[in-house]
Symmetry: T
Subunit: 69 residues, 12 copies
């Protein structure tokens, strides 16, 4: 990291595939409105169960992005 100022937002992505995929989907969706994303940190991993199986993985991440001048 250099001398920029970063802002952080919390997002929850979900996926029927895997916990990693839930992270990727949260970032892909965030990219529609946030520029200059630099890193993420996993805050919580949860999921929804239906008929005794994991139906959705739901992963909450904190995403840091640069406030550009």
């Amino acid at each position: 990291m250099d001398d920029h100022v970063y802002k952080q937002v919390r997002l929850t992505g979900s996926s029927t595939q895997s916990s990693d995929d839930a992270v990727r989907r949260a970032i892909a969706r965030a990219a529609e409105t946030i520029n200059h994303m630099r890193w993420f940190r996993v805050v919580e991993t949860r999921g929804h169960i239906e008929h005794d199986k994991v139906q959705h993985w739901q992963v909450t991440i904190e995403v840091g992005f640069t406030l550009e001048d």
Copy 2:
């Protein structure tokens, strides 16, 4: 929850009535600018004391809302 992506924001509401009311007021105010709010989680309950009595309850919540397509 389904396969949406959620964003979370932290808000602090205050009320002279009760801790629950401080939550309701934070959500009511947030509704002016945020759509599709789905859930909240209480992060901290504080208050302001004047003349030996609780003057304001101040409750910080994390509110999750759907990022719509």
Copy 3:
């Protein structure tokens, strides 16, 4: 507390009325199968939002009860 052994279970009660009422409802429901409940501790307070209002308060508690001889 005396020299009994206690067991603890986690329950989440919900209420349209208040956060306190969600606790009372969790305990009332637990009383159908658990005897000798002695104390509870609030672990988390959340809620469900619909149409910009708190629809349900959802409070998770840890309930301690005596293992009787």
Copy 4:
């Protein structure tokens, strides 16, 4: 808050009525010996159960007060 020095004490109030009332009672009792209380923060919410009902709410708060010159 201004440039005073604050001291904080931990108190547990109890009430048969509600969790908010337990906070109010802790502050009312503390007012007998502490001046210049300014704020509180809820540290823990517990309770005592008898006959399958909440008998007492027991709320622990941290109270901040000004050390006056």
Copy 5:
């Protein structure tokens, strides 16, 4: 979530394949005795190492299920 009362239990699943698979196996095993499972939350991810490789992923989850009437 609606107005049910939920109970939560802690389970640790293990897998030689992946951390996600350890979660799935814990839920599959729990399904033999627990009905109406609704969600899970990952509490801890550990593993066993043998001959310098991950031999088992061991993931502890908290599973919430509805107490049916």
Copy 6:
């Protein structure tokens, strides 16, 4: 640990002798109804004071046991 699925329960044991003894008593009592206990983790150590002395040590543990096939 091997590829079993474990369940965990929280218990509080008490003893007039020592904190370690409170753990042993919780496990001894649990053995009446739980088979295949494998490990424990201390969650909290508290105690009851009477006449300015520790009357009971009260130790809360999380006990893991194998769900057998």
Copy 7:
């Protein structure tokens, strides 16, 4: 604090001078887009090391500001 509703954002400022200066720079940058900032809380203090010296202090803060009517 009075009866306003506050929103909180997380920012990371950096400085080659000091940890305090990293806080000041995060607030100065945030002032370009956020009005009515009222308080901050330090969440994490980190830094970047180059050639065995602290090159940047990086301090993450939570900033609270009033949602004005």
Copy 8:
């Protein structure tokens, strides 16, 4: 616990004998100035090492006592 208001203080006791003994000594010393002590909770267990041996166990506890009328 009944409907009293409790105050809590943090104390660190030390002992060359054992961690439990450090707790007992903190309570014995506190009894010189505090009446009506009811319970304690262990906050931290540390120790001082000299010549590769534990010289003192140092245990920090939170002690709750009744504010009498």
Copy 9:
């Protein structure tokens, strides 16, 4: 540390200069009524913002002092 019993109190100092100075001012003020202070630990660093600048640093510390015989 030797075999004394220590008591700990929480104080919040404030300073317009720096976070370190807020610690020093809390200790200086505490010295008017507390003898034998031995150590402190920073619990929280906050601040008050006015006109987009840090107006006061507010640092909460836990101060340990010896209970003398």
Copy 10:
């Protein structure tokens, strides 16, 4: 675990593939200098984002290994 003494070290592995793979790579690299590794625990999962995609998963683990005689 038996009666050995274990030492624990913190390592951060990274991978362009998955979070699990980052754990495996940290352990593989550690095996060059550490013998008798027995278990790991995930401490934090982060990642680096470039061009709106996860470029590296970065997982910090605590690895326990036996101090052999």
Copy 11:
């Protein structure tokens, strides 16, 4: 403590006797390779259960030692 620089390592000792003894054994073993140990802090207390009894106490400590010039 004076103006030295300290390094900290995490160790887990085990004992069939008591939790305190597990600490002592971790320190005794560490003394074979670490000089100038000064203090420890208990991080976690666990244990292994066999035949419904505590077979080993396993205590993880953080040990601080002086980096000598």
Copy 12:
């Protein structure tokens, strides 16, 4: 960060000047034996008090460094 594997160590530096200076001194001392240090994170800020003044700032940091091939 790139695809290296990092190791982390905990160090406590002390300084009579400031908390930031205690960090710098820990890093300067560590540089005598550790190469390729990349970042640090503040874990705890404490201090020693003598004659009612801060005599030493003692800051514990976690330092990450690259394991080079």
